[in-house]
């Protein structure tokens, strides 16, 4: 099987290398053919692996490909771990990636950097696959940073735009803050387990569960808590959890296909995947789980609120991504890892769909992204309209759509959980449902319904996007509808993940839900009667009323609550604080150290100071050598006399 796994990762890599190095020679169509072929091969193989692992129950594959390095007797390896968790991730990644590749042909048709773009997204696919297929922490970190690199390159894809190159630097640095915690977590793992191999670490973890370490003298911390939180800091960077979420909205500067692929469906879910993968560690530390839960809940609620006031179509969806990532994180916090991964999967489909549909709208609008300048697009773009509607319904968790199953499972799981913070989290995720429905349909109504607010020129050219754009939309619409109903039972209640995810019996909220689970029908009926559904409907209704019937109301609210509005508009002040405190503070400190420390003290006082004092002393001593013979003769006589008197006196 090793060859199959190698093919899965190498096919996109080869595509990327060919398109990147020989882009000029193979031309535009060459570039998209070679990369799409690579990803398609990878997708087909992934499906085969999925079938093997999930349906045929193939044994877990866990082997090294090559030894990266040996040091201190510890082998650092590159290798694959293929179990049910990996199998799902590779299918999700390659499927969305393939759709995005095809879509890109249409979206980037006139871009001069066409080949470069295909090179990057294939490289991204490779990196993401390496990340999810890894069997050790080293390779995880490799993939982790590699996806960060490609994200950096793609956000700054239009490198002439000042906003784009600001956003990509910001994204990279904020992610690096997360990685800073992540690498310390890996270092802690190595120190106490003497291995970076998942299996070794997971096997040894229970034995070390009681170990405490002293980081600040006088306070003992559980080792697992320290490792868990340090690793999760990495996840907070990559999966954009408060307060490391600030890079994701700005990342919308990148072309829309990558917003779908990287900043919605796959890369940002790496943190979720990582925590699920590390479940044997996290299960040993309730403190870390509570921390995760609270961070996730804050993200789910407060980032959703920001979605309400956005006017850029992509930013609305970006904030909804932040909020949905919060939901997934909440699921992890209550030990419902499977529910987190389940939501990751359905979200990947419907969020990619939403972004690509938004991209289709943007094409039609000639790269206008302001939803206040749209409206009534329904009749011009029927396919995009229906796809966007499906995506939106899935996002708000409308019964029957994929998001309904996954989100409801999370909410129920939080409800059942006893872990500290679960009460707050439950409040956050339930209220979040209303907010999600409200901002999603606010956007939906403003774009597709109501008055046509675009200028005359744009309206004349409005038309449905070409097939190369709409087909991927349709392909993504299918799982957005059915994936939830299809997978809820095996993933959450029938133990599809097997040993890939470990949950302590006393944390196992999904098992509690499972006791009441009677089938999809029952879940549906229960869902329709539960408060989240009513809240979602209320959200949609409010949006319809505000933006279709009485557009004056939102304006009035904005006036009345201008303070609240301002706080939201400024992203709760995170950006301003980071800019002035971290970025500005670092520059100030740097200037201080450079001007005072290096230039004045070391160079001025010590180095050139020494040189000056040597010069000063010699300029004084110089006067001793006057050049007059009688001065020297006099000195000689005095010296002679002194010597003689010395000799005599002894």
């Amino acid at each position: 099987m090793e060859n199959v796994y190698l093919t899965i990762v190498l096919a996109p890599l080869i595509g990327a290398i060919v398109a990147g190095l020989f882009g000029k020679q193979i031309g535009r169509s060459g570039a998209h053919w070679v990369t799409i072929t690579g990803v398609a091969v990878s997708f087909v193989m992934s499906v085969l692996v999925f079938k093997d692992v999930i349906f045929d129950g193939a044994a877990v594959y866990n082997q090294a490909v090559y030894t990266w390095m040996v040091s201190d007797g510890i082998r650092f390896e590159i290798g694959f771990l293929i179990d049910s968790l990996t199998a799902i991730m590779i299918v999700v990644v390659t499927f969305v990636s393939l759709m995005v590749h095809i879509y890109t042909i249409g979206y980037m048709r006139d871009d001069p950097g066409y080949q470069r773009f295909f090179c990057y997204i294939s490289l991204f696919t490779f990196s993401m696959l390496m990340l999810v297929m890894s069997n050790n922490f080293l390779q995880l970190f490799f993939g982790w940073e590699a996806v960060g690199l490609v994200s950096y390159l793609l956000i700054g894809f239009w490198y002439k735009r000042e906003t784009a190159i600001y956003a990509n630097l910001k994204a990279f640095l904020v992610n690096r803050v997360g990685d800073f915690g992540f690498i310390l977590g890996i270092a802690a793992v190595l120190m106490y387990f003497n291995s970076l191999d998942y299996q070794d670490v997971f096997d040894a973890a229970p034995a070390l569960a009681g170990l405490t370490i002293e980081i600040i003298p006088g306070s003992e911390w559980s080792l697992m808590t320290v490792i868990g939180i340090l690793l999760f800091i990495g996840a907070m960077g990559k999966s954009a959890q408060v307060p490391l979420h600030v890079w994701l909205p700005d990342s919308m500067e990148g072309p829309t296909p990558i917003s779908a692929l990287i900043h919605a469906a796959t890369m940002v879910t790496a943190g979720i995947f990582m925590v699920a993968r590390m479940s044997p560690i996290y299960e040993l530390t309730e403190t870390a789980l509570s921390f995760i839960l609270v961070i996730g809940a804050i993200t789910a609620l407060f980032m959703g609120l920001l979605g309400i006031i956005q006017n850029d179509i992509k930013r609305v969806i970006a904030y909804s991504t932040l909020s949905q990532l919060g939901y997934m994180t909440v699921a992890l916090g209550v030990s419902a890892y499977s529910a987190g991964i389940f939501h990751l999967m359905t979200h990947a489909a419907f969020k990619a769909l939403l972004f690509l549909a938004a991209g289709s709208v943007i094409i039609a609008m000639h790269h206008e992204q302001d939803i206040r300048k749209m409206g009534g697009l329904k009749k011009y773009m029927p396919i995009t309209y229906w796809c966007m509607l499906i995506g939106s319904l899935a996002l708000i968790g409308f019964p029957g759509f994929s998001g309904f199953f996954s989100k409801d499972a999370i909410i129920e799981a939080v409800h059942a959980s006893q872990i500290p913070g679960a009460g707050f989290a439950y409040f956050a995720v339930v209220l979040g449902v209303f907010i999600t429905a409200f901002y999603t349909f606010r956007m939906f109504f403003l774009v597709f319904h109501g008055k046509e607010r675009m200028d005359e020129h744009t309206r004349e050219h409005l038309q449905e996007s070409p097939r190369v754009v709409t087909w991927p939309l349709l392909a993504l619409a299918v799982p957005s509808v059915v994936a939830g109903a299809f997978f809820i039972e095996p993933m959450l209640f029938a133990g599809m993940f097997g040993d890939a995810i470990y949950v302590k019996p006393e944390h196992d909220v999904l098992a509690q839900l499972g006791e009441h689970y009677t089938g999809i029908g029952g879940f549906l009926v229960h869902g329709v009667m539960a408060p989240p559904f009513l809240l979602a409907m209320a959200g949609v209704a409010t949006a319809a009323f505000f933006y279709l019937r009485r557009p004056d109301i939102p304006a009035m609210i904005k006036d009345r609550l201008s303070l609240v509005y301002k706080v939201l508009e400024n992203n709760y002040g995170f950006d301003a604080f980071n800019d002035s405190f971290f970025a500005g503070g670092s520059r100030k400190l740097g200037r201080l150290l450079s001007n005072v420390g290096d230039t004045k003290l070391i160079d001025g006082l010590l180095v050139n100071g020494t040189a000056k004092s040597v010069g000063w002393i010699s300029s004084k001593i110089r006067y001793v050598q006057t050049g007059y013979l009688y001065h020297y003769a006099f000195a000689m006589i005095v010296g002679l006399l002194a010597l003689i008197s010395l000799a005599v006196s002894f």
Partner: protein
């Protein structure tokens, strides 16, 4: 057959004699010939170093390819050469870098090109000699001799403030090494031998060790350079021609850290243990303080120079935190990773800093400016160059998959075993290293074309492409598969740990 040749002497003397030969073609009209001979000599030297690698026995810590002849019998000074797992990679790196420098200076150096090439060739031999020398006086002579060509390179082919920079450079390093000479002579009076290996085995009391350690520290700290004796480096780099900067950053800085592993640690293990807090503190200051200073530099070469100091902090940190690991965990586990990480960092930094300075050189040759503010949007006119620059910048920021990651990763992992807060401060490089490097890239490479000069830029030519391409391959190869490099070091590093753990008191 190759093994029978005195390979080390060959790699030392081939470039020196070749350099003298090039000087014969010193007239300007003979420049093309001088260049070709210089290239041939540097390539030949590099080829001669390859058998050192292929014929190297990884399983022993003993010196290999040993050559021994009496030199000044009165004082028991010998021509004693040999290499182990620490010095062998550095020799290859030196010969490799010289080839690139010769190519990089090809048509760029118009003023006295033969002399320029000759200086680099001679310096190549002297530097390789430093890494081979097993007699401390031979080491000292080569160590000082090496300064002369560098002094000339900066003084003759340098920028506007070259005189200030050369004198600062020379005085700093010369002053430092005088202390080393005193220490060497003292040990000779005690043991009757100038042999480095003899010194490693001679017993020394604590006071003696501390004094010797401090004498070495002054000599080596200046060379590395460690905070606070680092201010000569940015000045020297700024004024040096591109080739000078490359050799300075890639090889000369390694001399200092090489001195620590060859002299300080094995000769004065007890003093090293006693003063490790000092070394760790200075190293962390280099990593953190210097990173902030690098952030605000306006001159690209200065920025890279400061980033070098910061990265070299990882090397000294790796060497001297081994005692803290022992103290904290009570086992030698982790010490090997610390030292090997530091050694890998030395090699990797050779590639990356060399590449970064070459990149600045490529731009400087076209624009005659090193100021970040004079650039902007270079990617528009030099797309291939921009790709290289981004790659090397990422390597400088320690991205996995590039060589810059390997050493930092190992040192951070090992540092955690010494103390959480050491690891914490060392790991900040992940953020600050990326910040100063990528912020520079943003301002220089990305954005709209800033001015007419940038608009008129031409992308790299074949010669430049070759030089940068070779370095890119090296950076990636070492990042994706560092095993061949680290395997060479294991036996030597294990032996070094044994020496260090064995008290001389």
């Amino acid at each position: 057959m190759l093994a029978d040749l005195p390979l080390l002497s060959l790699v030392i003397w081939t470039p020196i004699i070749g350099g003298l030969l090039v000087l014969f073609f010193g007239k300007d009209e003979q420049a093309p010939l001088a260049r070709i001979i210089a290239l041939a000599v540097s390539v030949l030297t590099f080829l001669l170093t390859i058998p050192l690698w292929t014929g190297f026995d990884n399983s022993t810590y003993q010196m290999q390819f040993v050559e021994y002849a009496s030199w000044i019998p009165t004082f028991n000074i010998n021509y004693h050469l040999g290499i182990d797992g620490i010095s062998m990679p550095l020799i290859l790196l030196t010969a490799f870098s010289t080839v690139l420098v010769v190519i990089a200076g090809w048509e760029v150096i118009k003023y006295k090109p033969a002399q320029y090439m000759a200086a680099f060739l001679i310096m190549n031999g002297l530097m390789i000699g430093v890494f081979c020398a097993l007699d401390s006086i031979l080491f000292y002579v080569l160590w000082e001799a090496m300064l002369i060509p560098m002094f000339l390179i900066i003084g003759i082919w340098g920028g506007e403030r070259r005189v200030y920079a050369t004198i600062k450079f020379f005085l700093y390093t010369f002053l430092g090494s005088v202390f080393m000479l005193v220490a060497l002579i003292y040990m000779y009076t005690q043991s009757g031998s100038f042999g480095i290996l003899d010194m490693q085995n001679m017993p020394l009391g604590m006071t003696e060790q501390i004094l010797i350690f401090l004498a070495f520290l002054i000599a080596f700290a200046v060379k590395v350079p460690m905070w606070p004796v680092h201010t000569w480096l940015p000045d020297a780099h700024v004024e040096a021609p591109t080739g000078g900067s490359v050799i300075l950053a890639a090889i000369m800085l390694k001399m200092g850290t090489y001195g620590f592993v060859r002299f300080s640690l094995p000769i004065t293990p007890d003093a090293s243990m006693k003063l490790d807090w000092l070394m760790i503190t200075l190293s962390l200051i280099a990593v953190v303080y210097i990173a902030f200073v690098a952030l605000v530099q306006k001159d690209m070469k200065k920025l890279i120079a400061y980033s070098s100091i910061s990265h070299m902090g990882f090397v000294t940190l790796g060497f001297f935190m081994i005692f803290a690991i022992m103290e904290n965990t009570g086992s030698t586990q982790g010490m090997g990773m610390a030292i090997e990480g530091a050694l890998v960092q030395m090699i990797s930094h050779g590639f990356i800093s060399g590449a970064m300075f070459l990149c600045v050189g490529v731009m400087y040759d076209r624009m005659h400016s090193r100021q970040i503010a004079d650039y902007g949007g270079v990617a528009n006119t030099m797309p291939i160059f921009a790709s290289f620059m981004v790659l090397f910048a990422m390597a400088n920021a320690g991205l996995p998959g590039t060589s810059g990651f390997v050493g930092e990763f190992m040192v951070i992992l090992a540092a955690f075993k010494a103390n959480f807060w050491i690891a914490f401060l060392a790991a900040t490089t992940l953020i600050f290293g990326a910040a100063y490097t990528l912020w520079m890239v943003k301002r220089v490479i990305f954005g709209e074309v800033a001015n007419d000069n940038v608009a008129a830029l031409k992308d790299v030519n074949k010669r430049e492409f070759f030089v940068l391409g070779v370095l890119a391959v090296a950076v990636l190869a070492l990042g994706l598969w560092p095993a061949p490099l680290s395997d060479v070091m294991h036996a030597t590093v294990d032996h070094l740990i044994e020496q260090v753990m064995h008290s001389k008191l």
